[in-house]
């Protein structure tokens, strides 16, 4: 599959020559290196941090811990409050940091710090029978913890066919290629950061809250970011350590988490357990959907993955019940990872739909068509563009679905068993207000600045295109990656480009009007407009989502149970794409992560030690190049999906949602083995 059409990335040359500068790579005079020390107990109290051996090295400048660190104020998560107390809530939580003049000395110093603890009992297992489970009022992104329509139990009792299964997903780590990286410096009460994050304004806000200073006093520069996938949305514990070290030493400090530290000093996705019960009449009409979800948070902060949120909107049913329960475990607070809630929840829903199709003797595509809702099932709101059926039908056509014999385990050639599966995708539309500034110079150039960040999405290029198109000129310089450009959206919720683009369009349109008022002549001091889209946001009167459909072909080694994805075809309805090339890459990237989730990804927990066991990239497997074959992403740009200020709906997360279910459904078709627990390892395939 070749790249989609569209302008190639503005920073492309810098990225292929090594000139593109990431946070850790700015030369800074007199800089110190910081290496955090993680707790080696899963629950307890630090009784002593002995830095004597570390400080014996003349290159070691300081050992920071809860006894000498400055006080921080509560911010976004409790995990960020590093070195504020001797309490240990989970293994790997920062308990100290070593600051040294060289990287080697900082790392060895960290190994030399002796930390003593009183150890307390810990709990790290996600257990549906845990008597202390909480029933949260709301989930992440503001969904109700519990929502009920009709009488699910009665409908299930009356249903002709019921599918009743538990689906689980393990903890997963975002693992961007660039770990958390930061250079922190204090200039009086101003904090200056070169930081790898998903929103310089959010970083300024988060660090400002921690240090009790307004965001304007935090200067964040974020030119290039080596991926985030949700892990760099808010300041991580690791990044905060650098700002503390800089405060303590009075010198610039740089820190890059090791890959191992990324597993506990940066967030991850919770494990989930979905108990799904689907009821249907013999004709395929669904009469009940019951999604009971369980996820975990840490013992110090409540974060509730919105695992059941997609279930609210996918399929018609008069009886619908969605519940979220929460275990509090001695693990780092999980946070968002690409399509939070939707990704694990839709694995469950779309697997269960496949099971229901088999139980009814219906084609899984047909089952979805028969249960297409006319209004949003949970809220009753009208849809603002809904093209799920379109995606399914176009995809079926491109994939060649109609010729499929549904019989499981019926296609063997040599050692290979072949199968196909499909699943739906969805992602909500988010958009945030924010500022952008457009400036005309007398020399005919235009400068447009917005506190956006390009974590690989292609935002920089798309925003330049928006500015150039509104201004009607090519002589535009786009400036992003600085908190100084003002309040702005995150690269999160697939909302970044739409949010920033809306502000850029508004600023450019206003500048154009202003220019016209000046008869097209730019005064000597230039013309400048700052626009704010805070008041321009979408009213909550409609249900707005992008949709998609995945079609997957797998082969399974009949001797060993190894699964290989031969083909994954996605069709996505997201409205207008600002840049078809980078949008296409985003969709493919989501699908790759979906294959990776289906077959490889899991953070293994040792319950005795309260340990994330496989905390590196040799053991936490993500898909290699050899694991990815036959990818195709197609976009349906339907006009009624053009709902945001730039037209279109979010793209960044859509591609991952449902893709793991498409793989699992194909594995069932190939082998007759239904794997309900991710990842689909060979022993799970062989177990049947």
């Amino acid at each position: 599959m070749t790249a989609g059409s569209g302008l190639s990335r503005l920073e492309g040359r810098d990225k292929v020559t090594g000139a593109a500068r990431y946070a850790y790579e700015y030369p800074v005079e007199d800089v110190l290196y910081v290496c955090p020390v993680g707790a080696t107990v899963a629950s307890g109290t630090v009784t002593e941090v002995d830095g004597t051996a570390a400080l014996a090295d003349p290159e070691v400048v300081a050992v920071v811990d809860h006894t000498n660190a400055p006080r921080l104020l509560p911010a976004v998560t409790a995990d960020e409050l590093v070195f504020q107390s001797p309490s240990v809530a989970y293994r790997g939580q920062p308990v100290a940091a070593v600051v040294a003049t060289t990287l080697e000395a900082a790392q060895e110093g960290a190994a030399q710090v002796l930390v003593r603890y009183v150890e307390h009992p810990h709990r790290v297992a996600l257990d549906p029978d845990d008597p202390d489970l909480e029933q949260p009022e709301t989930t992440n992104a503001g969904f109700p913890g519990t929502s009920v329509k009709g009488d699910v139990d009665a409908a299930l009792a009356d249903a002709d066919v019921v599918v009743d299964h538990v689906y689980t997903t393990p903890p997963q780590h975002n693992n961007p290629m660039e770990t958390v990286a930061i250079i922190a410096r204090w200039d009086g009460d101003r904090l200056l950061l070169h930081d790898s994050n998903q929103g310089p304004w959010a970083a300024a806000t988060g660090f400002g809250m921690l240090w009790g200073i307004p965001p304007e006093q935090v200067s964040v520069v974020t030119e290039h970011v080596g991926g985030g996938f949700g892990s760099k949305v808010w300041p991580t514990a690791g990044a905060v350590v650098a700002s503390v070290a800089a405060r303590v030493t009075g010198r610039p400090c740089k820190l890059m988490l090791t890959r191992q530290q990324m597993f506990t000093m940066a967030p991850a996705r919770t494990a989930t357990r979905s108990h799904l019960r689907l009821g249907a009449r013999r004709d395929g009409t669904m009469t009940a959907i019951d999604h009971d979800t369980l996820q975990y948070s840490s013992v110090i902060h409540e974060f509730v993955e919105q695992t059941g949120s997609a279930t609210r909107t996918m399929y018609a049913s008069d009886n619908l019940r969605i519940r979220h329960r929460l275990a509090r475990l001695n693990l780092p607070t999980p946070r968002v990872m690409r399509a939070p809630g939707k990704t694990p929840g839709m694995f469950a829903v779309e697997s269960a739909m496949d099971e229901l199709a088999y139980a009814l003797g219906l084609d899984p595509l047909e089952l979805r068509l028969r249960n297409e809702p006319s209004t949003d099932p949970a809220s009753g709101l009208p849809f603002d563009g809904r093209h799920l059926v379109d995606c399914l039908q176009v995809g079926a056509d491109k994939f060649g679905w109609t010729a499929r014999d549904p019989t499981p385990a019926a296609r063997r050639r040599g050692r290979w068993l072949f199968g196909t599966g499909l699943a739906s995708a969805m992602y909500p539309v988010y958009q945030q207000g924010g500022k952008a500034t457009a400036r005309a110079e007398p020399d005919g150039t235009f400068h447009v600045s917005v506190a956006a960040v390009d974590i690989g999405t292609g935002a920089r290029t798309a925003l330049w295109q928006e500015a150039a198109s509104v201004l009607g000129v090519r002589s535009v310089v786009i400036h992003i990656g600085r908190s100084a450009y003002g309040r702005s959206s995150l690269a999160g919720g697939s909302a970044g480009t739409a949010s920033w683009g809306g502000a850029v369009r508004k600023a450019c349109a206003e500048l154009r009007r202003l220019l016209a008022e000046h008869g097209g002549a730019v005064p000597r001091d230039g013309l400048e407009v700052t626009a704010d889209t805070a008041a321009d946001q979408l009213p909550p009167d409609k249900a707005r989502h992008s949709y998609g459909a995945h079609f997957c072909a797998v082969r399974v080694d009949a001797d060993t149970g190894q699964v290989r994805v031969d083909r994954l075809l996605g069709v996505f309805a997201h409205g207008h794409a600002l840049n078809a090339r980078t949008a296409h890459s985003q969709l493919l990237g989501g699908m790759v992560m979906g294959v990776s989730m289906a077959l490889h990804e899991q953070t293994v927990i040792d319950p005795r030690l309260g340990l994330f066991v496989n905390h590196d990239l040799a053991q936490y497997h993500i898909a290699t190049h050899a694991d990815i074959r036959g990818l195709e992403a197609h976009s349906l740009e339907r006009a009624d999906d053009d709902v945001t200020l730039v037209g279109g709906k979010g793209i960044g997360e859509l591609g991952i949602v449902g893709s793991a279910a498409a793989v699992a459904n194909a594995v069932f078709h190939a082998t007759g083995v239904r794997v309900r627990d991710l990842p689909i390892t060979l022993e799970r395939v062989r177990a049947a």
């Binding site: 690989g456 890459s585 993500i622 190049h625």
Partner: protein, 172 residues
Amino acid sequence: MTDQLRGDVVLRVNGEDRVVNLDNRSTLLDALREHLRLTGTKKGCDHGQCGACTVLVDGERANSCLLLAVAAEGREVTTVEGLADGDELHPLQRAFIAHDGFQCGYCTPGQLCSAVGMLAEVADGVPSWVTADLTTTPDLDDDEIRERMSGNLCRCGAYAGILAAIREVADG
């Protein structure tokens, strides 16, 4: 024999001899990034598990995170900064841009160096795990490229673009 824990090391990087005083513990990767200001080479895992730090050492691809700088003395190191000929990009660099073979760009320098080394291996007749016949010159089909490039993880999932870019250059 030396009792020193650090010393001057002569590193030959991109055709230039660079003398740098290094801790024996410095890896080639950290020497490049922290001492020679060649930050194009990236640190992704620091344990040879991701390929972001791939450089060419005596023309062969290597994880610079696992090479002690002091042990790399006298070997010819090429980094991403050394691939272009002045302003003229290497064909692989151009192809990566043309095929959108990256998103965040952090694995890209390693992918590029790896691809250069990989094409040289193929030219030397080196087979891969997926080569059916070990005795003939390997035919560089898509699965061959995928396997040979699997030491370079890309979390953004730009594999399709990377494949297309290498394919284009390999096919001339």
